[in-house]
Amino acid sequence: MKPFEYFESGTVEEATQLLAEYGRRAEVLAGGIDLVPRMRKGQIQPEYVVSIQKIHGLDCIERDGEKGLRIGALTSLRTVELSPLIRNDYVVLHEALRSIASIQVKTMGTVVGNICVGTPASDVIVALFALGARLKIVSISQERMISIENFFVGVKQNVLQPGEIVTEVLLPIPAVGTRGGFLKMARTATDIAKVNVAVVLRIADDRCEHAKIAVGSVAPTVIRAKGAEEILKGKKPGKEIIKEAAEVAAKEGNPITDIRSTGEYRKEIIKVLVRRAVERVI
């Protein structure tokens, strides 16, 4: 790997200062499970690597009053997977993490890191779309909150400016009766998804009061299947309604043909997974 200048930041201020100074010549190191392999392959060759590993307070999962549940930038995928808080109240995220096979990758990798890499096939991002997660972006001069749905602008491209880092993910407190589920289809247990789907629903008085359906691997970014959601909202989720919603969802993605699957197969699988996910959650 090409040599680089290495900094270990002690605070978020230090890190954002360095990142602002070096701009696109610098990369952030958290878990490193995406960064280091890509550097080894020569796909990226930063002149500066700014480690945030030594910053206190970023490895945490904690309730922040009524704001929701905070997951700090250094919290590993494995920590979140094993958290009882997540398993009880955010099942869709727990299931998404279970679908990632390698324990080592989950031990090293972070939730925020996974988000910032931003592959449209990310199981984590699909779950977070369905949960309505928000991200806290910090720079040397300001902090801002952004919905995860507004964070991505293209394949592995996000709105972060030089000098900005994501310090946490905030999950809203789920209303009583909210349920969720995640499904993924892949060639093998360890492979990236052909299609992945996350569904979060709330049923009240037999009717679907709230529905978020997120689909990954079928567009340049993870998408919400809003057409499908509209079919379900306000109605009794019977077999016919679910089938209709699934069919509408299949039209909302624009999957490509690649090494993992054909576009046609993916379109069909969107329908199948959305139907199965909704049926399972109900």
Partner: protein
């Protein structure tokens, strides 16, 4: 970063090593410490052959910058053997035919150790999930899972014997 002296703790022993920021942990373990048990295979974090335990947790040494492993407890496969006495997991792998070419074995055993330390009484399914980050091209995994199941039993028995012997 110029070459800097950094402190490492490997298999319980302290080392002062000269490292540059772009060196990965697997290179340092193999090339500077001569610990060849940790294997360099895919080199991009996809096969698990380079697995080592850092502060008890399984990590991929090919994807770990050596500088980030300073001052942490690193366990390689060499650290499992006490003199010439095999660790129960190592013995179980031998006894159950879980080793063919042996290349995946160090990573498998260390992943198994980390797993059994937290899950002393696992099911076969749990073992398979825990080892999902370690690939094997030879064995088909059946005997590896059986070996880990057997090792769990042996370790459990030893623990119970030890507890009883205190009285």
């Amino acid at each position: 970063m110029k070459k800097q002296i950094a402190n490492f703790i490997v298999n319980g022993r302290p080392y002062e090593l000269l490292v540059e920021s772009h060196m990965t942990l697997v290179e340092v373990l193999r090339d500077q410490l001569g610990l060849m048990g940790t294997k360099f295979n895919c080199g991009v974090g996809e096969c698990g052959a380079c697995t080592v335990l850092i502060n008890g947790k399984p990590r991929l040494s090919c994807s770990t910058l050596a500088v980030t492993a300073r001052e942490k407890n690193i366990l390689t496969i060499e650290g499992l053997t006490e003199g010439t006495t095999l660790h129960p997991i190592q013995k179980a792998f031998v006894d159950h035919g879980a080793i063919q070419c042996g290349f995946c074995t160090p990573g498998m055993i260390l992943s198994a150790k980390a797993f059994l330390d937290d899950n002393p009484n696992p099911s076969k399914e749990e073992i398979k999930e825990a080892l999902a980050g370690n690939l094997c091209r030879c064995t088909g995994y059946v005997k590896i899972v059986e070996a880990i199941l057997a090792a769990a039993e042996v370790i459990g028995k030893k623990r119970r014997q030890f507890d009883q012997s205190k009285y």
